[in-house]
């Protein structure tokens, strides 16, 4: 499982600096999370660090992807 960035992303790049796994980078238009690298911060932080800093609350769990 991993987290996912919706089209509300404004490319502020804050999540890139916070991610402990270097899992986030700029895609074609907005930032993307490499699902292979995302650990959901389990074992290191109480909450995923990208979600904590996101400007527009656009980072959601993959389970919510269908409705995002």
């Amino acid at each position: 499982m991993a987290y996912f960035i919706t089209s509300d992303c404004i490319n502020c790049t804050e999540c890139v600096f916070e991610c402990p796994n270097d899992a986030i980078s700029l895609g074609e238009h907005i930032h993307e999370i490499d699902a292979g690298k995302c650990t959901e911060c389990v074992g290191f932080h109480k909450e995923p660090q990208c979600v904590v800093v996101c400007a527009t609350d656009c980072i959601v769990h993959e389970k919510a992807r269908a409705v995002a």
């Binding site: 089209s7 509300d8 404004i10 490319n11 502020c12 790049t13 804050e14 400007a55 527009t56 656009c58």
Partner: protein
């Protein structure tokens, strides 16, 4: 391991001015810039009067014609106006007197990608691009700096200066280590979009119009021309869907002013923390927006150039004579801190 007297993280105006001050004193300095220059930035791209004077004072030059917008070179101070539904226009300020001195009121409309590159070149300091500072270890004698990017991934220096903006990695690390104990008063997100301009409608040509409409965002929104484009800027607190805010703003501009926009060109976003000034710890210094230096209503370029230059002077003095560079920086920038307080007292920035 490659060694320099000073390493500056960030090739924006703060880093360039800092490098210029160090070069003037013959100090060996290297700038590490995370992106490839020239690079766009989330900014209105206007050089206010104080910025123009600082460029002459510290760089001995005016911004060259090559960095200006081709068609819309100047924004007059009197054409920067706030619009309110029902009551119309009033003057809006992004610059006020400093130390009893007023500044020129013909503001220069520039492209930040070209301006920042020109300023870095003008500093005379070497700049390694696509090299993002990701960590450091500081002792009482030196700092080792870890860098992402192809090429050298570790440097040693006597001073590391974080001139890496509002999203400063250097400040973040100092905060995580418990050194920076300041608390941000507010944090806003900013988003700007460029659209091909088809018709200004009743908006004044060459003007810059500011709105305080809570349905767009908790922060002011504003619009001005950049060559053949209209630049729309919106902002809000965490969680605000700023791409939707742009759509609301576009509708207001169409309904109230008859503005007609063509194709979208590009957009940029950033976060801005309104945090108290913090100058760093030991051999790790902060300057510009990374240090919390933002003037009235978010104007950052003049605060960056002035604080960057003073920071470089302080580091050069400490290298030459000994002493604590951060104390020297606080002493030589007391007027900047005072002006910052004056700006905070007059802030007119939020729509809620």
């Amino acid at each position: 391991m490659e060694e320099h007297d000073v390493i500056i993280a960030g090739g924006g105006p703060a880093g360039a001015a800092c490098a210029k001050a160090l070069k003037n004193e013959g100090v060996d300095v290297l700038i590490l810039e995370k992106d490839k220059l020239p690079r766009y930035k989330c900014c209105s791209g206007v050089l206010f009067g104080q910025t123009q004077e600082l460029l002459r004072q510290y760089f001995g030059a005016d911004a060259p014609a090559s960095v200006y917008c081709t068609n819309d070179k100047i924004v007059e101070a009197e054409d920067i106006r706030e619009w309110r539904r029902g009551s119309g226009y009033t003057r809006y300020l992004w610059e006020i007197d400093k130390d009893g001195k007023s500044f020129p009121t013909h503001y220069q409309n520039i492209w930040r990608n070209l301006f920042d590159k020109w300023l870095v070149d003008k500093s005379g300091a070497p700049c390694r691009e696509e090299a993002r500072v990701k960590g450091f270890n500081a002792t009482s004698d030196y700092v080792t700096v870890q860098v992402d990017g192809s090429g050298a991934n570790e440097y040693r220096c006597k001073y590391l200066i974080g001139a890496d903006g509002g999203a400063s990695v250097v400040r973040r690390i100092l905060k995580a280590a418990g050194k920076d104990k300041t608390q941000a008063a507010a944090s806003v997100s900013i988003f700007q979009s460029y659209f091909k301009l088809e018709s200004l409608g009743t908006l004044k040509k060459g003007g810059w119009t500011v709105f305080f409409e809570p349905e767009i965002g908790e922060m002011l929104s504003c619009v001005h021309q950049k060559d053949g484009y209209l630049l729309l800027c919106v902002g809000g607190f965490k969680g605000r869907k700023l791409r939707e805010s742009v759509e609301v703003f576009k509708k207001l501009l169409a309904d109230e002013f008859g503005v007609k926009l063509g194709a979208w060109w590009r957009d940029e976003g950033c976060q801005m923390e309104l945090a108290p000034p913090y100058h760093g710890d030991g051999r790790v210094m902060l300057t510009g927006e990374a240090a919390g230096y933002i003037y009235l209503n978010g104007e950052g370029i003049s605060a960056a150039i002035d604080s960057g230059y003073r920071c470089g002077k302080a580091a050069a003095t400490a290298l030459r004579n000994g002493g604590d560079a951060i104390s020297l920086f606080c002493e030589n920038s007391a007027d900047i801190a005072k002006h910052l307080e004056k700006c905070i007292a007059q802030i007119h920035f939020l729509s809620v």
